[in-house]
């Protein structure tokens, strides 16, 4: 009975965690470039049940009944990297990636500088002339110089201009007359990426891929499916409620076994 109680409770806490993830997805239904999360649930390893009901040569010996699961546990959260819808805007500093890939941004917290990755292409030019994201992180790219037939790419660095005029360009963007190519990267294992807030991902071993298609004057919408969210929320709520009913009936059974079966009347 006690074992059954803990099994049902594990179900309840797992459903609660699932609801946490679902409401975060719902909160980010309008966030540019947001990728929805899913909770993976796994059952505990089965345990072997046995009693001593088997009689061999007049002695009670161990009798294997079978295996039993002890409930469910959170296996982890996976991110769904399906592309969201791409929306046209009329701002020259709005970019969207068509397909896989990420933009690279650099964050300097005063002590060290670290690169993060994002799908959120809603950039603007800040008052210092840098192309930055909404959270102020500098977007990295390479300058492009064309000499006749040869094209040279500059070093990877922030994109900066004095007047902040951004226009379209075949290579990516043109800031104050200088062409730049945005640094777009790929990851071998997208599951190694970790969300850190501000629409940024932390990851290691990025592979620079200049063939990733970047669209200017576009933004990628969130890939959260509102209908799935509502359905998942309802099923999670009812599973939570079912677990409650299981716990209540276990409670009643325990009540009977403690107070009625053993009572002296």
């Amino acid at each position: 009975m006690i074992r059954a109680l803990y099994t049902a409770v594990s179900g309840m806490t797992t459903q609660e965690s699932r609801q946490d993830i679902i409401t975060n997805n719902m909160a980010n239904v309008n966030t540019v470039g947001f990728k929805s999360d899913n909770l993976q649930v796994k059952s505990f390893k089965d345990v072997l049940l046995h009693n001593n009901d088997r009689i061999v040569n007049g002695i009670n010996v161990s009798n294997i009944i079978g295996s039993l699961s002890q409930g469910s546990q959170i296996d982890g959260v996976t991110t769904d990297f399906t592309s969201g819808t791409i929306q046209s805007t009329d701002s020259s500093t709005d970019f969207a990636i068509d397909g896989n890939g990420f933009f690279t941004v650099s964050r300097d917290n005063g002590i060290s500088q670290q690169n993060y990755y994002t799908r959120d292409g809603h950039f603007h030019v800040n008052s210092d002339g840098y192309l930055v994201t909404d959270s102020g992180d500098k977007v990295l790219g390479r300058s492009v110089t064309i000499n006749g037939n040869s094209v040279t790419y500059g070093a990877l660095g922030p994109i900066r201009g004095t007047m902040g005029k951004v226009e379209g360009d075949a290579n990516g963007l043109k800031m104050d007359g200088q062409s730049y190519r945005l640094d777009t990267v790929d990851f071998g294992n997208a599951n190694s990426l970790k969300k850190v807030g501000d629409n940024l991902y932390q990851g290691s071993n990025p592979v620079e891929n200049p063939n990733i298609e970047v669209k200017q004057y576009s933004l990628e919408k969130s890939n959260v499916n509102v209908i799935s969210c509502m359905t998942d929320m309802m099923t999670t709520l009812r599973a939570f409620e079912s677990d409650q009913k299981v716990i209540q009936s276990i409670d009643e059974t325990l009540d009977k076994s403690v107070n009625v079966v053993g009572s002296v009347r």
Partner: protein, 291 residues
């Protein structure tokens, strides 16, 4: 349970923020020179799911974290030009292209504005709606009797030692460079900003209204359609823009876009309110585990 509740709460606040901005844009749809504000969202920090009382498996293939909601992270001015409307007033000006007029405020600081609905004050000066002088680069005597502009280029006229501008026959036009007074029908401004004074049936160029531009994020609003340049922001003359007399620039609010955004934001607000309702139900279920 609290995580579910707080995720929904911050999401509703964020959508509310956007609704406030949308309604401000719609309210200013008729304001001359108004630039609409655009709002985007960012997700918040992620917290670990490995909490006390939760059963979890340490699977290295996945991360064990949940999000904590969303915030409205960027309120940026949309710098697109509004429609130019003809007003027939000789003191109304519109800028076609980038740039701002420069005005001098009462304490001497320079402010910038796109709002070209100017007036003539009692002393014949060109002023804006707040009474601040419009900065005009008047032509000067280069010391040799030539009338030069601010770049040192000679104009068509000469000027005598008393400041009177002379016409082609070296006769005084009646205009003195130290005493230029405007009235509603005695001046015209050309597309490149040259100010022409009409006196005694003569048209004489007396100065130039310049346009100034810089990184748009470097200008901060101070109200009354005025902007000031932040410290360290480079402000240059805008060479590619025209000044159109007799026109005003409307707001750049696109009602179709604002209404669409309003619908989307309202529904997102409603979605998160369902999340909050579910949190309440789940907590109720947990509370009633034991009757």
């Amino acid at each position: 349970m609290l995580r579910i509740l707080y995720n929904s709460q911050v999401a509703m606040n964020a959508q509310q923020d956007k609704l406030d901005t949308i309604s401000n844009n719609i309210a200013n749809q008729g304001t001359e020179g108004y630039k609409r504000t655009d709002v985007q969202f960012s997700d918040l920090v992620y917290e670990s799911l490995s909490k006390r009382g939760y059963a979890y498996n340490n699977n290295p293939q996945t991360t064990l974290q949940t999000g904590t909601g969303v915030r409205a992270s960027s309120h940026l001015r949309d710098e697109h030009q509004g429609n130019l409307k003809e007003t027939d007033s000789s003191t109304d000006f519109a800028i076609d292209g980038d740039g701002y007029f420069s005005v001098r405020m009462n304490d001497g600081t320079t402010a910038y504005t796109r709002d070209g609905s100017f007036n003539i004050d009692g002393n014949g000066n060109l002023v804006d709606k707040n009474g601040y002088f419009i900065n005009i680069d008047f032509f000067k005597n280069d010391g040799n009797g030539n009338l030069i502009d601010q770049d040192g280029n000679k104009t068509l006229n000469k000027v005598d030692n008393n400041g009177n501008i002379l016409d082609a026959n070296s006769k005084s036009t009646g205009i003195n460079i130290s005493n230029i007074k405007f009235s509603s029908d005695n001046f015209a401004v050309q597309k490149d900003g040259t100010v022409i004074l009409k006196e005694n049936n003569q048209n004489v160029a007396v100065g130039r209204i310049n346009l100034y531009t810089g990184i748009s994020a470097g200008f901060s609003e101070i109200g009354n359609n005025l902007f000031v340049a932040k410290q360290g922001v480079q402000v240059q003359q805008a060479k590619n823009s025209d000044i159109i007399q007799g026109f005003l620039e409307g707001s750049n609010v696109d009602l179709g876009k604002e209404m669409t955004d309003l619908l989307i934001t309202q529904r997102a607000f409603e979605l998160s309110s369902k999340g909050m309702k579910t949190a309440d139900e789940m907590w109720n279920i947990a509370n009633n585990l034991k009757h």
